[in-house]
Amino acid sequence: MEKILDCEKAQGFIADFWAKNLPESQKNELEKHLEGCAECREAWEFAQSIRMDYAALPLPEPSANLQEGFEQILKKYKNKNSFWEQWATFFKQLFTPEKLPVWGYSLALLAVGFGIGYYWANKPQKDDNQLATLSAEVQAMRETMVMTLIKQPSASKRLQAVSLTQELSSVDAQVIEALFFTLNHDENANVRLATLETLYQWADRPAVREGLIKAISQQDSPMVQITIAEMMVALQEKKSAESFRKLLESKDLDQNARQQIEKSLKVLL
């Protein structure tokens, strides 16, 4: 006897029929099963009855909005991706095998750069030493010049010497001594005034202060006397008071100088 289809297979055939995909041979096989199976037969009859023109079932037509919406999505994606893809392409191009020599060359150049930088970073110490030696030499030269110029007969040369000492970063006792000699003995009042102003720069040195106080009694120019009196007030040098008193006793003292000295003495005492 011919083997009859079981329900599961028959149902599969009905499903195939729904999908318009049941071969004639299987249809015969199915019909034999249906003779003895009411459940499957009912399903089969229904499937046959509704085989209609499904295309007639209503469907909406795509609207203009749909097309527009799609184009916007596409546009958005093109923009978004063109940005990232540009970067991706850029980086991909950077690391191609053809670029290997370029990379090698660049790295070598960078290494050389670092080497030179390192060398220079260590070199300045030597330069600093050279600079220090050089400035010491310039200092010594200036001192020599000061000592030479200060003994010149020309007043302008001696003024030059005094102004040169202002450029010296530090002065030694020899220069100070020479300046005091000029302050006390130079015949030109202008030179003495310039010297006084120069010495004032180093008034924080006890030797310079002492020298300035001693110089008070030796000055005869009113300009120098007035200046020195002002300086002593600025320096608050009380030891200078005695020298000024002695100066006031002198009958030759200029009237202007006398006034300034008296004023200074009031402040100092």
């Binding site: 599969g12 009905i14 399903a43 023109d53 499904y54 795509p62």
Partner: protein, 187 residues
Amino acid sequence: METLTDNALMTRVKQGNYDALGLLFKRYQKPILGFFYRMNGNAAESEDLVQMVFERILRYREQFRSEGEFRTWLFHIARNVQHDFFKKQQKEPFNKNWEDWAAALEAENTADGDLEKIQDLALLDQALKHLSPDKREVLVLSRFEELKYSQIAEILNITEANVKIKVFRALQDLKRIYQTLEHGKNT
């Protein structure tokens, strides 16, 4: 260009030629719209979902395998979009109670001998809408979108035999609903 296969076009999209998607959109906007419309019955909502499908195609273009079939891949995406949409909406499509609808149809009393065929179609349309979404889905995909069971199996990630069982069960449910509606109409 029209002679290019779906897969050739999608391969171009994958390579960054997004304009190629325009042709695929032209080819498939109607079938996909039809699928959504059969599933949710709302034309405007369906159009939104069609756009979502094409956006996903762009987003997941790298996942397209040229040895697979574009149409299957497309419906797989459409099905996921539909699924996500239902979940998000937290509602059943056509949530109108079909018994209410049967009553409404009865009240309309539109029985007209000449229009019997159209009425049968309308009845079938309504019966389909009252099927559960998973059952409606297999019937829509197989009959309206004319996908093969092997393709549906791939889309739903089940075996072909399982698809046939689902179709058969869906037909049985459809029959029950259809007959109830018919009964309501005739009484």
